[in-house]
Each structure stands twice: as C-alpha cells, then as structure tokens.
C-alpha cells in the first residue's frame, strides 16, 4: 500500500497561490516595454512625493508602487502604509477635472498603457491616497444574542470610544446600553413615554441622547446609566434624527445637540443648560435627517423634497437644494465617520485622561485630513430620496452670494425603488446606498460614478454601515439577515442569518471589532470575527 503524501500545509498553499499569481501577473504584462517615469502626488494636498522615478513597466504593479512610495517617503518598514493610486486621464494637466480620474487596480500597464492614455515616453503623474493601515476582519459569527427589550429594536449605535458599549432604542419606551464584551445588559434607560426612535452618543462618548415618539429628547450619563435631568421638551411631534456638534468646534464643556422632528423644525439644544438655543424652521414637511457638519454648517433633509444648508453660527438658511422630486430620506457627509468618532482613532493613543486641548487638536486634525481633497477642505454631502435617485453635492462650492439654486455634482441613477439609506466610506472614496429594491449599490464618491450592485438580499435593505477601514460593508434587511460585503471583490463576504424577523438597525463599531444589530424580533445580536 502506497503512502499518501500529507496535504500541503496552509503556508505551502499560500506560497503556491502567491507564486501562481505572480507568474500570472508577469505573463500579463508583455516583455520589452522598457521603463516609465512616474511622479507621485498626494491626492489630499497635491504635493509631490520626491522626484519622479523611472520604473520597469513589468514591475509597475500596485504592490510594487506601494513599496516604492513607502521607500520614497523614507518610512520605517514597520510603519508601511498601503496606498490606493489614481490617475488623472484628462490631457491638460492644469485643469483639475475630477470626472476623468481612474483608479489603478492592478498595474500601470493594464490601466494606463494598454488603453493608450499615456505612452511609455510620458511622465505619468499618479495621485496616491493612503488606505487604512489596519484591517477590520469581517464579522462571521454571532457572539451574543441578548434579549431584554420588550418590543422591536428601532435604533442601535456603538459608542465612538469603544466597541464594548452598544446603545439601542426600542418600542418598549426604553433605551438600553449593552456590554458587548460579556454580552450582558448594562443599563436600562427608562423615562420616555413612547418608542425610542433615535439614539446618539456624543462624540466624546460620555453622553447618550435619545429621541422619542413622545416628542422629547432625553440625555443620559453613559457610565452610570442615570438620566441627566428630565426630558428636553419643545418639539410638537416625534423626533426623527439627532446630531451632535462636532467635537473640535464645541465650546469647552458646552456641547450642543441638534434634533430634527416631524414637526418640520430643528432645535439646537444647549446640553449643560438644557434649553433650546435656536429653532431652525423653514421646512414645510417632516424633517427626516439632520447632520451637523465640521465647517459650521448644518444640513437638513425633509419630506418637502428639499435639503437646506444652515449656517451653524448665525443660524441662517444659506441654501435650499431643490433637486429631488420626492421625500428626501437620508443625508450623509463624507466626514460622518470622523465627526462621530472625534478624537478616537484606531491607535487609541489618546486616552480619556488626555487634556481637552489635545483631544480637540486631534479631532480637528482628523477632521481636516479626512475632509481635505486637492488641498481644500471640502465636505461632500449625499442625499437619498424616495424618487429612487441619489444626489451628490459639494456644499463648499456653493456661491454664498448668488440666489441661483445650487447645482449637484452628480445624480446617481440606478435604484429601482426608494433609497432609504446612504453612507460614505470612512476614507471618503465610496458611497454605499441601501434601497427598498433589495440591493445595495456602490458608487465612486468623487464623481458619483456607479461601481457595482451588491445583490443577495431578498427583502428591502434598510441600512448599511461601513467598517472603519472602508474595506467591508454590512447591510441589514427586511429579509431577516445581515450581510457583510467585500468592497474590493464586490462580493458577499459573510451571510449572517440568525434574526427571526426584520432587522431594523445595524452598526459597526468605530474600531471594527463588533457589529451590533437589532430588529423586530426584540433581540440584540452582537457579531464578531
């Protein structure tokens, strides 16, 4: 009897596939093309990284370019950053046309030389954008399934500071804070007299704000679970959305909170004084979403088909965007992620004990690096509507002095039913939109070009949420499943069945460790790798 050779180990298998890939790569690029000259330019600032370098065409793959760029920047081998490369295909160098920017996915040959955009004799200017140095591992199992709520869970959000705290709002008139490490309930926040529709952590993660069907907003101490005073009354209809003032703009110890309501107003609350600082009225229908931007702007979307941009200092309405033909359901900012997490980043260098100045500086620095495109701080806005379309706006380009209605950057067409939720990836390169037509669509966030459709859900998709490294996306649907999608391959990464009914809310923690979801089956599920 012959001896059976043991199956190859995992390392051997990986080595074999890598070798095969390398060979395939090399055979794809023809020999004898010589070398090309490449100039690296930072996409954010527009600064050149070192002199232009000559590189063999055969070697010019993204992986090698990454190595080269890291070496050019004299980075320590332990601190190597992965990069994404873009190429501006417009012929004139001076013109900064964003519509002809190519994403180089594998190598220079296949994306630039082969289509004939440049020849080997040209000097090729490559823009680079750093990708997250950390990698979020896709969640694959349900680590805890916690019951406690007596009714459907309507909202769920993680604390920006840690992935161990999840807050949920429910139809049983309570909000709860869960300890995700142990999978146990931590606090039950009782006080509302009707459903809790929205929950929102302050950017420093110390206060939780809840908005309810009983027309009031309540504030809670996250650590102790105590109510911070009584309800904030003022709205005449239920609360639809909450948004905190960005951390880097808050006056010391005086955070403010914007609450949007069905009664067509937004109220700005002074949190320590617990009173209304300002009421923004002007919309004619229920306000569906409010966002407090990082450059003194407040954005509101309403069912009166308009989006309004407000000045967060003088409280005047600056622009009314009237492109949509039906209710505007949701708004997202390209800086949502950094505004939400403020000074908490993946390195966790800055602890809560750090000085406030350091925190503000860090939050400001994070905001600016996320918002900077071509050296300018721009906050892009995206709006989803019932007219099945999405509009991409650049509010910083609106002329404050003209009365003309501002023009959108792009109109994203493709969904076949109402679009319920949109979100920017944390690095600002992608837009994901969740629609009632059972699909999630990915769009390029720079020019609004369609990238792909992620199909797999068999019911309306209610929400989608990005991982912190922008490489994964999680979506929650009416079909009772949560699905994780890989953005790079544009495929389903993990299917997470387990809920017994519709999933209304899903959130990926800011550090990427856990996904929390809740829905009609009254159970909170924590998903981990």
């Amino acid at each position: 009897m012959a001896t059976i050779v043991p199956p190859p180990s995992k390392r051997q298998k990986i080595a074999a596939t890598e070798k095969a890939e390398r060979e395939a790569e090399e055979s794809r690029i023809p020999n004898g093309l010589g070398s090309i000259r490449i100039q690296f330019v930072d996409q954010g600032t527009g600064n050149a990284a070192g002199p232009s370098v000559a590189i063999d065409v055969q070697q010019a793959t993204v992986k090698n370019l990454e190595n080269l760029l890291n070496t050019l920047q004299a980075k320590d081998p332990s601190e190597r950053t992965p990069y994404r490369f873009f190429f501006n295909a417009s012929k004139t160098q001076a013109e900064n046309d964003t519509t002809s920017i190519l994403d180089i996915d594998r190598d220079i040959y296949s994306s630039i030389l082969k289509p004939g955009l440049r020849t080997v004799e040209d000097n090729i200017v490559l823009q680079y954008a750093p990708q997250a140095v950390f990698r979020v591992r896709p969640v694959s199992r349900c680590s805890a399934s916690i019951s406690g709520h007596g009714e459907s869970i309507l909202a769920a959000t993680f604390s920006p500071a840690t992935s161990s705290l999840l807050a949920t709002g429910s139809g049983d008139n309570t909000a709860r804070i869960w300890d995700c490490d142990t999978g146990t309930p931590k606090h039950t926040l009782k006080g509302h007299t009707s459903w809790v529709l929205v929950v929102s952590f302050s950017p420093d993660g110390k206060i939780l704000a809840t908005g309810s069907m009983d027309n009031s907003v309540r504030l809670w101490d996250v650590k102790t679970g105590e109510a911070l005073g009584g309800p904030l009354k003022g709205h005449t209809k239920w609360i639809t959305s909450l948004s905190w003032e960005p951390y880097h703009q808050q006056a010391q110890g005086k955070p403010r909170l914007a609450s949007a309501s069905k009664d067509a107003t937004v109220r700005i609350w002074d949190v320590p004084l617990r009173r209304v600082e300002q009421t923004l009225s002007g919309h004619k229908g229920s306000i569906t979403c409010v966002r407090w931007g990082g450059i003194n702007r407040i954005y509101t979307a309403s069912q009166d088909k308009t989006i309004k941009v407000w000045n967060a200092k003088t409280w005047t309405c600056l622009h009314t965007l009237t492109a949509h033909a039906h209710w505007v359901n949701h708004l997202a900012l390209s800086t949502d992620f950094v505004l939400r997490t403020a000074y908490h980043d993946h390195s966790l260098k800055l602890q809560d004990t750090a000085s406030t100045e350091a925190k503000v500086a860090q939050a400001k620095q994070r905001f600016e690096s996320a918002a900077r495109v071509n050296g300018k701080i721009t906050e892009r806005l995206i709006s989803a509507s019932d007219d099945n379309t999405i509009f991409l706006w650049d509010p910083s380009s609106f002329d404050p002095n003209s009365n003309a209605t501002p023009k959108p950057v792009a109109r994203l067409l493709g969904h076949q039913k109402q679009v319920n939720h949109v979100s920017f990836s944390p690095d600002g390169h992608y837009i994901a939109s969740a629609s009632f037509d059972n699909s999630v669509k990915l769009w390029n966030a720079i020019d609004g070009k369609f990238i792909t459709t992620l199909r797999g859900h068999v019911g309306a998709v209610y929400m989608c949420c990005w991982s912190a490294d922008s490489r994964l996306l999680v979506s929650a649907s009416k079909d009772t499943t949560v699905k994780v999608w890989d953005v790079r391959t544009q495929k389903l990464k993990e299917d997470l069945p387990g809920h017994k009914d519709e999933v209304f809310a899903v959130d990926w923690s800011a550090d990427g460790a856990a996904v929390g979801s809740g829905g009609k089956d009254k159970v909170v599920k924590i998903w981990k790798n």
Partner: protein
C-alpha cells in the same frame, strides 16, 4: 378575423355615417324613457327578468356612488401612526403587510412543536373504490378486458405528463377534471390567494390516490407560495408550502385549501 366584427370592419373601411354621433347621443338620451316604458309594459317572465336585471344594476350603481362619496371625504389622520413600533424611516410609509404578517405568523406557529402534526381537517369520510373509479367498457376489446378505470374525481397532473399508450393505460384522468391552481387561505389572516399547485403530498383515502394525484377533501397538496414573499430564518425565499383541501372539489368546481402553518 372573427366573423362578428363586421361592423367594426365596415367602419374601418368606409367610416361612419355622417350623423352617427348624433344618433348615438339621441339613442342614449332615449334610453331612460325606453327603460321606463319597458318596466311599465312588460308582463310575465319577461317582466321578472327585467326587474331582476334592473335590481342588480341599481345595487351596482348605489355601491359606486357610495365609493365615490367615500373617496371625497377627507379622513382625519390617525393619531397613532401604527400600533407596532417602527423605525422612523418606515413611519410615514403605508405598507402592504399581508405577506409580512404571514411569515411572522408562520414563524410563531413553528415554535409550537405539536402544531406540525395537526391539520385543519383531521378526519375525512371514506370514499369507496366504486365511487372513485368507473369501469371503462367502451370499445370492443376494452369491454372484454374490463380492467380500464376512469377516475371520477378531480386530479392534479404534473405539467410534463403524457398519457400512456391506450393498451397500457389503466387509469384515465379526465382532462376536464384536472386542476392547476388552488385558492389557498391563510387561516389566521383570512387572506386568500390563488396559487399554483406543485404536487399532491398525501391523499388520506389511499396511497394509490396520492400517486394518481386525486384531489378530494382532506388531501394535502403542495402549493407555490413564492409570490407571497415569505422568507425563512436563513433569509431564503420560501417556495413550496403545504395546504389541505377543505372543500369537495368534485361538487364545487373549484379547489379551496387552507395553508398549513
């Protein structure tokens, strides 16, 4: 072209009389008078028939008027938008909740284990073979043999069925008594939908009848529920579901069933 459309054909070829519209208008204007005269003058059976027709028409008219009036009335908005908690993005939307309610009801029911074995009609009246089968005696050779049977009850026959050669065909399932669709009711919601039949799972009378696809009262059939949009716990669309026949299709000419949940 059907033969009875000669008027349309003529009009297409030669057009209408010049006073056509005028004549139509006048005929319509006369209609009320003509009706009234009929109602007064007709006697006997004709009067009865006429009255019956008028009665039905009047009911229809009244219904229509009522519906029109209802449409005009502006109802006050409901104070509470919905009794079940909903996230704010679903609050202002009117939803078709039928199929949804169906699937959750099914899930609730599945939790009770015993429910699996209970069916709405636990007992059925036996049907004798004499009632079920008619001996076919037509033809010279068949009459001699006497083993050919005609099934006298409605049947379900799969879409790809072809009859066997006459020589070998023992059971004949008449074309006129074949069914493809069933009116399936969800017991808890009272929603009735017409669904295609996928197969006969069990005829309580006799395993042979199951094989033949005979549809009698109490038969368990599988129906295609894909258009209801039910979803399993794993997120897949439910395709087939079982239902039990509740009526005597041979008497009623239709097939009613109740979904087993």
């Amino acid at each position: 072209m059907p033969q009875n459309e000669y008027i349309e054909r003529f009009q297409k070829q030669y057009g209408k009389r010049l006073d056509h519209d005028e004549r139509v208008r006048k005929r319509e204007a006369r209609e009320g008078h003509a009706m009234s005269q009929k109602a007064q003058q007709l006697t006997g059976l004709r009067a009865k028939l006429h009255q019956k027709k008028r009665h039905a028409e009047k009911i229809q008219m009244k219904k229509q008027i009522r519906a029109q009036e209802e449409r005009d009335v502006k109802s006050a908005g409901p104070s509470e938008p919905s009794s079940t908690p909903l996230p704010n993005y679903l609050l202002d939307r009117s939803q078709a909740n039928n199929a949804k309610a169906l699937s959750s009801a099914i899930k609730n029911k599945r939790a009770e284990k015993a429910a699996k074995f209970s069916v709405p009609l636990p007992k059925v009246k036996g049907i004798s073979e004499e009632e079920m089968f008619k001996v076919v005696k037509t033809g010279k050779k068949t009459a001699k043999k006497g083993w050919k049977r005609m099934i006298t009850k409605p049947t379900f026959v799969g879409p790809d069925f072809t009859r066997r050669p006459v020589k070998y065909e023992r059971f004949i399932r008449p074309m006129g008594l074949r069914y493809k669709k069933a009116n399936v009711t969800h017991p808890e919601l009272g929603v009735t939908v017409q669904l295609p039949i996928l197969g006969v799972k069990k005829n309580p009378q006799n395993p042979l009848y199951t094989q033949l696809g005979v549809l009698t009262k109490g038969t368990i059939i599988e129906v295609n529920v894909s258009e209801m949009g039910l979803v399993t716990a794993g997120g897949k669309v439910v395709w087939g579901k079982w239902a039990q026949v509740t009526n005597n299709p041979e008497n009623d000419g239709c097939l009613n069933a109740v979904l087993l949940v």
